[in-house]
């Protein structure tokens, strides 16, 4: 294959590199080589989803519902792209109804036929065909050109591998004075001693003030200085966090727990939220995948179960300003089954909605319940919701749900008596099988 393999998450979303941000999604797209004789290893990629990021263009195979096989994905890194040949407009053909739009991408290849991000020996044309006529392919092409111009891949993200883990007050890279990790300045007496330290402190504070003023002049200024400002914010935060621990003043408890929340949300922030603008018709489907990737790790922390309202809060917080409505969230959850997500939505009798890991199956709980009704006490008096709650360590209301579900499966039998609802082992199932066995013997 000419294109590079790309990694997908469990739910089929591309896994982005540090600093990489998804810009646009488009569906029903083919990728093929535009030449008569195609190399033997080349297979055209048909009808997939294409994700344009700041670093790559990723083609993702469409998932088939029946097959739980991971779909494949291939990418063209932007540095390999030499030029774009946008679709011609207003040609004669456009008079006769709509045509599939074709975008030609000139990519460099090495002598051995692999994609070359630099020092390309030759170039080939890769053609992208947008089959979905309703999709906004014009916007896609424009965005593609913008991204190529921005050259975001040339910027190495600072400490993005471990956000929030940066050293307290690491050397101020925002000043552009020094980017090395080691203080490389020579030791002179001017920098030494108490006065040297004081001088440096002062200079730094002044510089930070200036940077702040410049950056917040208008939006463009902030955009161009964004990276430095993030570093400055981090520096101030770490510094103040360290000193407030020592002096212990100013922050009350509520503030403290809020800060914890803030940290929690920061650690799970979604850099490339799926939005209506960048995903178009794919919105709910992609949102569903992103949500599933997001919820997975959260569920692990909360015993495999979370109220949907909590998920709504965490997800929206991680998305920053790109809020989604409760209805959109619900729709995304409902699509989980279709996208083979490892999580599922569950509705209780009471109308409460929760999110559960799919691996967190009822089977394990049913097995425990079945064992419980066979204990001496269970056989004599049956088990109530509170018994089950205590034995399984579940909240009573949930235990009741599980008992009812087990009853529905035919594992348990109810006795709704004076002292409440109790459940017993269901012997009727065994009766049936005994009768069958007896009938079999008679014949």
């Amino acid at each position: 294959m000419l294109l590079l393999e790309a990694q997908l998450s469990e739910s089929g979303r591309p896994i982005l590199q540090p600093g990489e941000i998804e810009c646009q999604l488009i569906d029903s797209t083919d990728i093929d080589l535009e030449q008569e004789t195609k190399p033997p290893y080349w297979n055209p990629l048909l009808g997939g989803i294409v994700s344009l990021t700041t670093h790559r263009i990723i083609w993702i195979e469409r998932t088939r519902k029946k097959e739980p096989v991971q779909s494949r994905a291939f990418a063209i890194p932007h540095p390999a792209v030499h030029a774009l040949e946008p679709p011609k407009k207003g040609g004669l053909k456009s008079l006769f109804g709509k045509q599939a739009v074709k975008l030609r991408i000139v990519v460099g290849i090495r002598k051995d036929g692999a994609l070359a991000t630099r020092d390309a020996a030759s170039a080939v044309r890769v053609v992208m065909v947008f089959r979905n006529l309703d999709s906004n392919s014009d916007a896609f092409v424009t965005r593609f050109q913008e991204v190529l111009e921005a050259k975001a891949w040339t910027v190495i993200p600072p400490t993005s591998a471990l956000p929030g883990r940066a050293h307290p007050g690491s050397e101020p890279s925002f000043s552009g004075r020094q980017d090395g990790s080691q203080p490389s300045r020579a030791f002179t007496t001017a920098h030494a001693g108490v006065s040297g330290i004081l001088k440096r402190e002062e200079a730094q504070a002044k510089q930070a003030d200036e940077t702040l003023q410049e950056a917040f002049g208008d939006l463009n200024a902030l955009m161009s200085k964004a990276k430095d400002m993030v570093a400055l914010a981090e520096r101030i935060r770490m510094r103040l966090a360290g000193s407030s621990g020592g002096t212990g003043g100013g922050t009350d408890e509520g503030e403290g727990s809020r800060q914890e929340m803030q940290d929690l949300l920061l650690s799970v922030g979604i850099a490339s939220p799926v939005t209506r603008e960048n995903a178009g018709a794919l919105y709910h489907q992609q949102l569903s995948r992103q949500l599933s990737d997001f919820v997975g790790p959260l569920l692990v922390k909360s015993n495999g179960m979370m109220a949907l309202v909590d998920v709504y809060c965490f997800f929206n917080r991680a998305r920053g300003t790109e809020l989604i409505s409760p209805d959109d969230l619900l729709q995304a959850c409902r699509l989980w089954e279709r996208v083979n997500a490892p999580v599922r939505l569950r509705r209780f009798e009471s109308g409460v909605l929760i999110v559960q890991a799919r691996g967190h199956s009822d089977e394990a709980i049913f097995a425990q319940l079945a064992q419980l009704v066979k204990t001496p006490d269970g056989t004599h008096f049956g088990i109530s919701a509170s018994d089950a709650a205590r034995a399984l360590g579940l909240p009573p209301a949930l235990a009741k749900e599980e008992l009812l579900a087990a009853e529905y499966r035919g594992l348990l039998c109810r006795d709704d008596g004076a002292d409440g609802l109790r459940f017993y082992h269901n012997f009727f199932l065994e009766l049936d099988s005994l009768q069958e066995a007896a009938a079999g013997q008679q014949q």
């Binding site: 690491s170 402190e201 000193s243 809020l323 209805d327 204990t375 009573p396």
Partner: protein, 300 residues
């Protein structure tokens, strides 16, 4: 003596250069002070006796105060800078909301800044239409902030919070927004969360309005009450409150729910006049377990 002195000096210098990352600072310090340490040691050697000791102590104290002053001034400066930073971010979040949304790469950076400074990027104004029709981002944003406040206070209150307190928390978070957040706004915002299932709701206890954020199915308070009832088979509200230290609303809500679920029964006939909540369905001695230990069974 030498060790103590160099220890103190070292401490001071580390304090003053606290802005360097720790390992960096240390290696830097060692590099510089290997040189400085020697003369220091020499000085101590040259001045033995009481006056030498006194001099060293005075010097030490001076270094220390200086170090503290530097650290204090610096913290003040930082606090000021943070305030400016916050203010500017808040202004930008409101002014350029739509422009920020259009630039995916910048949006990510903007969010990072907000998160690091503790600025809430959600600060839409209510506006006329939101007030009138309940449309726009305002109530959705408020909804997210409300759930967040509930989540943050959950360890203290078990998922029950007074509507007034909730409003105060959210209002504090949104201090930049021009209009104040009213209780009515909170109620409307919570109403918007209806689609997410029925776990999140407002209910009234006496004259207070409480917000419940934990659905019954996930509420562990009930387990604790069941646990308490193990020995005697019953509990009273006062007992639970005394033992768990929960606020009154929380105890009542948990007991009510257990009653509604059919797990508890009320007994008002006790001579002491306190309502007892019996748990007849739990096998009194709590010997029911998966391991199947033998027991005498419940008394009925």
């Amino acid at each position: 003596m030498e060790r103590a002195a160099s220890g103190i000096t070292r401490k001071f210098v580390l304090l003053a250069i606290g802005r360097l990352p720790e390992e960096l600072g240390r290696s830097w310090f060692d590099k510089c002070f290997r040189g400085l340490d020697r003369p220091l040691r020499m000085a101590f050697r040259r001045r033995p006796g009481i006056s030498g000791l006194q001099g060293a102590t005075a010097a030490r104290a001076q270094y220390k105060t200086l170090g503290e002053d530097v650290a204090k001034v610096r913290t003040e400066q930082m606090t000021e800078q943070l305030a400016t930073f916050k203010k500017s971010l808040e202004d930008f979040a409101q002014k350029y909301k739509n422009d920020i949304k259009k630039q995916p790469a910048f949006r990510a950076q903007f969010h990072e800044m907000c998160a690091k400074c503790g600025v809430d990027p959600l600060a839409s104004n209510k506006g006329f239409w939101a007030e009138l029709l309940g449309i726009g981002d305002f109530y959705y944003e408020l909804g997210v902030q409300i759930v967040e406040a509930c989540l943050a206070t959950r360890p203290h209150n078990g998922g029950l919070i007074d509507l007034q307190d909730l409003r105060a928390l959210v209002a504090k978070k949104r201090r930049t927004a021009k209009e104040p957040v009213t209780e009515d706004d909170c109620i409307r915002a919570i109403g918007k969360l209806k689609a997410l299932g029925s776990g999140f709701e407002i209910f009234t206890v006496g004259s207070r309005r409480l917000v419940r954020s934990v659905p019954t199915e996930l509420n562990r308070d009930h387990n604790e009450i069941l646990e308490m009832a193990q020995g005697k088979g019953f509990v009273t509200a006062a007992e639970v409150q005394a033992q768990k230290g929960w606020p009154p609303g929380r105890v009542e809500d948990a007991l009510e729910t257990l009653l509604r679920e059919g797990l508890a029964m009320i007994d008002d006939g006790d001579p002491d006049g306190q309502r007892r909540f019996w748990f007849p369905c739990s096998s009194g001695d709590g010997n029911l377990s998966i391991e199947g230990q033998l027991g005498e069974g419940p008394i009925r």
